[in-house]
Amino acid sequence: MGRYLSKKVLIYLITFFFAVTLNWAVPRFAPGDPISMLLSRFVVLEGGRDILESFFVKTFGLDQPLLQQYFGFWRSLFRGDLGISISQYPKPVLSIIRDAIIYDIIILVPAIVLSWIIGNKLGAFSGVSKKADNFLMPVFYFLTSSPYFWFALLVSYLLGIVLGIFPTSHAYSATMRPGWNLAFIADFFMHWFMPFLTLFLVQLGGWAIGMRNMIIYETNTNYAKYMESLGARERLIRRYGFRNGILPQVTGLAISLGTVVSGAVLTQMVFSYPGLGYLMVQAIKQNDYFLIQGCFLFLIIMVLLANFTVDIIYMFIDPRVRHSYSGEV
């Protein structure tokens, strides 16, 4: 068991190391100089840009040798310092991420978790009921095959503009001030609903399909046959199938939760819903090394943590894993 964990940890550490290095290297060796880019957009007196340029180069340490920059990067990483954003100077990358991430979480966690729960339930239902399957399976496939942004657009247009039920953009009304009052919460919910719905529906399809196939497989296994020969009712067998079929889905859930941030980029774009996704796209468009790195690093850490958590959870919920790594089998 300990061995299983240490093996996983080692893999994750190596992954982390490579990811960080890659993350550090890619922007630096790619074309596009974030500072000249920033400079060309400012209206300043002639000669003012030269002053700004030397200011930035010094501030961001881009005049140092590469290796030194690399080690410096690791050093500050361990201090929890992800550097300072160029495009949003002088805000620290970490606090930019912190401000944005909450919106990702608020949309994605419920969308993922709910779509996971409901998708699995529906998928299981579809897997055991032939009649339902004929109708549900195409629907699932349709949902999971739709590009997020396209689906988001349809939702936004239909519910927002044609029916006018929900506001089409942003996290809360312009006139609202965040606070723990009913009005704000209601307003927030209205804004939250459509992006949530989009993510929820599209992901629902995927989970349902997965579960459908799992349950068909599970209800054809020998233990299902054995139970049936011993007079178990179909409901019980289905419950068993669900329990076994859900295990691979748990991994999927963890991975989705890990990609919480990047998962919603497209939907967030369509609804101008704040979050890390848009931030990252902007950072990339503006060659903001530090912000890109920060976002990316953050994502990797999230994904690794999620995977790791699942590995641990798995040891508890699936006896097979525990044993296949302890050499008892």
Binding site: Y226, M227, L230, G231, D318, R320
Partner: protein, 329 residues
């Protein structure tokens, strides 16, 4: 006499309906199981033994009941309503399947599995019930702690015993044991086989049908033997009679090809049976052994009628009178 019969199978036909046609794996099978006996069913692989068990316990497509009756305590289980039949299983008629190694749901502890199963039969698993289960566990030489374990934590032999306990937990009148020893080491084989006898001795089970391709084991534990060939029953009789005075050419050939400890090739050359078993797909009438039979005649193209040589010894062969009993071994 009739009161002594637990299971009375009459002219049972069950085919696999598949794309290519009907696989007549159980074709006009007639036999009885008497109270308190162990009926051994032997035959080559593919002769329909498992199909017979499935026909009695769990008919799933493509397996279809075509005709014939199976009277279990006077009631025809072929004609029984689904719910009625469901209740009958485990409590009165039960099966120990061939696939013991994966007959348990991998994510359920043994105890939970048992609990769930008996609940399906309206039994509330209280303390006294568990006391009984634990006692049975001890009876099969398993630590009752096994109930708190997952299947993966058990060895093959242990799983086999667990399955035997589960299948007989409600003291069924009839147990069908399908190839329960084939996957085991000789020592576990002996244990499992004698266990069945002990269960009967202790009155836990009424009668048993023991299916195997290994005549030597049947010799150890069965009271009567039924030899199947190509979906037909070719010979039925008390074990000593069948083993020592087989009358059907197939039984004879089968017995003479069995090696026994203490026979070396240089001393006695055993012969196999020439040719291969018939393909059961869309097979026509006639004795199914005729292709390989040294005594075949034109008459063999008609399906032989089953005749009782003794009250207890029946045979399906046109020529049994000419052949005469042959002592083997």
């Amino acid at each position: 006499m009739a009161a002594d019969v637990i299971l009375d199978v009459q002219e049972l036909c069950a085919y696999y309906r598949i794309l290519k046609g009907d696989v007549k794996a159980v074709d006009g099978v007639t036999f009885q199981v008497r109270r308190g006996e162990i009926l051994g069913i032997a035959g080559e692989s593919g002769c329909g033994k498992s199909t017979l068990a499935h026909t009695l316990m769990l008919r799933k497509p493509p397996l279809k009941h075509i005709s014939g009756k199976a009277l279990f305590l006077g009631q025809d289980i072929m004609a029984m309503g689904a719910e009625e039949f469901r209740k009958l299983r485990l409590s009165r008629i039960s099966i120990i399947p061939q696939y013991a190694l994966d007959a348990l749901s991998p994510t359920k502890k043994i105890g939970e599995f048992v609990t769930d199963l008996v609940r399906e039969h309206g039994i509330h698993p209280d303390r006294s019930f568990f006391a009984k289960v634990e006692e049975r566990m001890r009876f099969v030489n398993l630590d009752p702690a096994v109930l708190g374990k997952y299947p993966i934590e058990l060895s093959g032999g242990m799983k086999q015993r667990v399955i035997m306990v589960i299948s007989t937990i409600l003291n069924p009148e009839l147990v069908i044991a399908d190839e329960i020893t084939s996957a085991l080491d000789v020592s576990s084989q002996r244990f499992a086989a004698t266990l069945l006898v002990e269960l009967r001795e202790k009155g836990i089970i009424g009668s048993a049908i023991f299916i195997t391709h290994d005549l030597a084991i049947l010799y150890q534990i069965a009271d009567r033997l039924l030899i199947m060939y190509g979906g037909h029953v070719v010979e039925t009789g008390p074990v000593e009679t069948i083993v020592h005075e087989p009358r059907h050419p197939y039984t004879q050939a089968l017995l003479s090809s069995l090696p026994k400890v203490g026979v070396q090739i240089k001393d006695e050359r055993l012969e196999g049976i020439k040719g291969t078993p018939p393909e059961l797909l869309e097979i026509g009438p006639g004795c199914r052994f005729r292709e390989r039979c040294p005594y075949r005649t034109k008459q063999c193209e008609q399906t032989p009628v089953t005749e009782n040589i003794d009250p207890d010894h029946s045979i399906a062969c046109w020529h049994y009178q000419e052949i005469g009993g042959e002592r083997v071994g």
